[in-house]
């Protein structure tokens, strides 16, 4: 896992992904020299990150606190298991990003419970909302908790470890028959945010719905995601981290690595593999191998960040 070549990475990355999928908890992202690399399972991720120093941050997604249907009657419990797994990592990550759907129905108690569990990681957490986080009548619970200092519906950027992180919101003002949506105001902000940045600055874009078109038939994509990608085109290292589809999927296109993380709540079917993208009921023994987190490691002078998807169990 620590060995990394950016040229012929198709096969080896695929193998890594398979191994991650097989294993199943979170994605551990390592940023090495500008490109995040996924490290696979949490345990092998740990091995890799301890072997190669650099900044490591975590991605957690789709905790759906409040979900209690047959696909996972205790989504809060599996979130706690994921957090416990993170706490057991020998090397403490620098911070965590949460790519949305913190709650299932945007109830105050769901937000409270999510925060109570996630805060046990004692990590700074940078959130972006999912569509399930904006369901309360006045659409205020998410903003009150996580919207401070953000623009519009909650977008913002920050710098860490030499990497420029941009959290985007693509779950509001969705149009009939359409996909995720960033909107003109956010795109203008993004263009402005990137203006003047050195092209050698590694960029991490994170948002709930995939910014690339995964499967439009199920709405898995972002209508104007291509516009956002235009703005980061000239940068040497771009990593796009998303959630929403509750499964690991990765694609590399030029300098851009796209990656989606598992949910900590319930799996969803592979594109087209079921009549709908609804929660997938699997055998109890298999569930935790399909939930997880990601760890991302960044090292100077390496183009790709290393991403490791780690299952809660498996």
């Amino acid at each position: 896992m620590s060995g990394h070549d950016h040229g012929e990475d198709g096969l080896s990355r695929r193998k890594v992904l398979e191994c991650m999928t097989w294993a199943g908890t979170g994605v551990l992202w390592t940023i090495t020299g500008g490109v995040p690399r996924s490290l696979g399972i949490i345990d092998s991720a740990q091995a890799a990150t301890t072997a190669v120093p650099g900044m490591t941050f975590l991605q957690i997604s789709d905790s759906h606190v409040g979900f209690d249907k047959p696909a996972n009657p205790n989504a809060l419990g599996t979130l706690e298991e994921a957090i416990n797994k993170i706490n057991a990592m020998p090397a403490k990550p620098s911070f965590m990003i949460h790519t949305g759907d913190i709650t299932h129905l945007s109830k105050a108690a769901e937000f409270d419970n999510a925060d109570r569990i996630i805060s046990q990681s004692k990590l700074d957490v940078h959130y972006v909302p999912g569509e399930h986080d904006f369901l309360d009548e006045n659409v205020k619970f998410y903003r009150e908790r996580y919207g401070r200092g953000t623009k519009g519906a909650g977008w913002y950027s920050f710098d860490a470890g030499g990497v420029h992180f941009i959290g985007l919101v693509n779950v509001v003002d969705l149009k009939a028959s359409g996909l995720g949506n960033l909107g003109a105001e956010q795109l203008a902000w993004l263009e402005d945010d990137l203006r003047g940045k050195s092209k050698s600055t590694p960029i991490v874009l994170f948002a709930h719905i995939p910014l690339w078109t995964v499967y439009p038939e199920w709405g898995w994509g972002t209508e104007d995601g291509g516009r956002a990608l235009e703005y980061v085109k000239g940068f040497g290292s771009v990593t796009v981290l998303n959630g929403h589809i509750h499964q690991v999927m990765q694609k590399v296109e030029g300098n851009v690595t796209f990656h989606t993380a598992r949910s900590t709540a319930f799996p969803q079917p592979a594109p087209g593999a079921a009549p709908s993208p609804g929660p997938m009921k699997v055998e109890d023994a298999k569930l935790r191998s399909m939930l997880g987190v990601a760890s991302i490691n960044f090292k100077q002078n390496e183009q790709r960040l290393a991403i490791i998807d780690t299952p809660i169990q498996g």
Partner: protein, 111 residues
């Protein structure tokens, strides 16, 4: 159509009560119609009704959905088994969608 409604009358009565509670200003009628949400699909996706008909949507998925027709009607978030009713008092085509999963679309044609 009428035969179907008579057969479903028992069910309709329950819905009528629900509609009466949700929409106290309207009188629920036995020929009111239903749309089910199953597997991220509105069924039927196209419905033809007469003016005055109340349509009730029921979410039978494990995931919340909404029923939104721009400028016409907008449900709250419907969790599993939640219902939303709307009475169509004007003729016309009412396109609607789920604002959470916008690939889900439907139309009510009111004559």
């Amino acid at each position: 159509m009428k035969t179907l409604n008579r057969r479903d009358f028992g069910v309709d009565l329950g819905l009528a009560l629900a509609a009466a509670i949700l929409l106290p200003a309207t009188t629920a009628r036995a020929d009111d119609m239903e749309v089910h949400i199953d597997n991220f699909v509105f069924q039927p996706a196209e419905l033809r009704i007469k003016v005055g008909t109340t349509v009730t949507w029921t979410n039978r998925d494990d995931i919340p959905h909404t029923v939104v027709s721009a400028g016409k009607f907008r449900s709250k978030t419907l969790d599993t088994d939640d219902k939303f009713s709307f009475t169509f008092t004007n003729a016309g085509d009412y396109k609607y969608f789920c604002s959470l999963h916008p690939h889900m679309t439907g139309i009510i044609k009111v004559e």
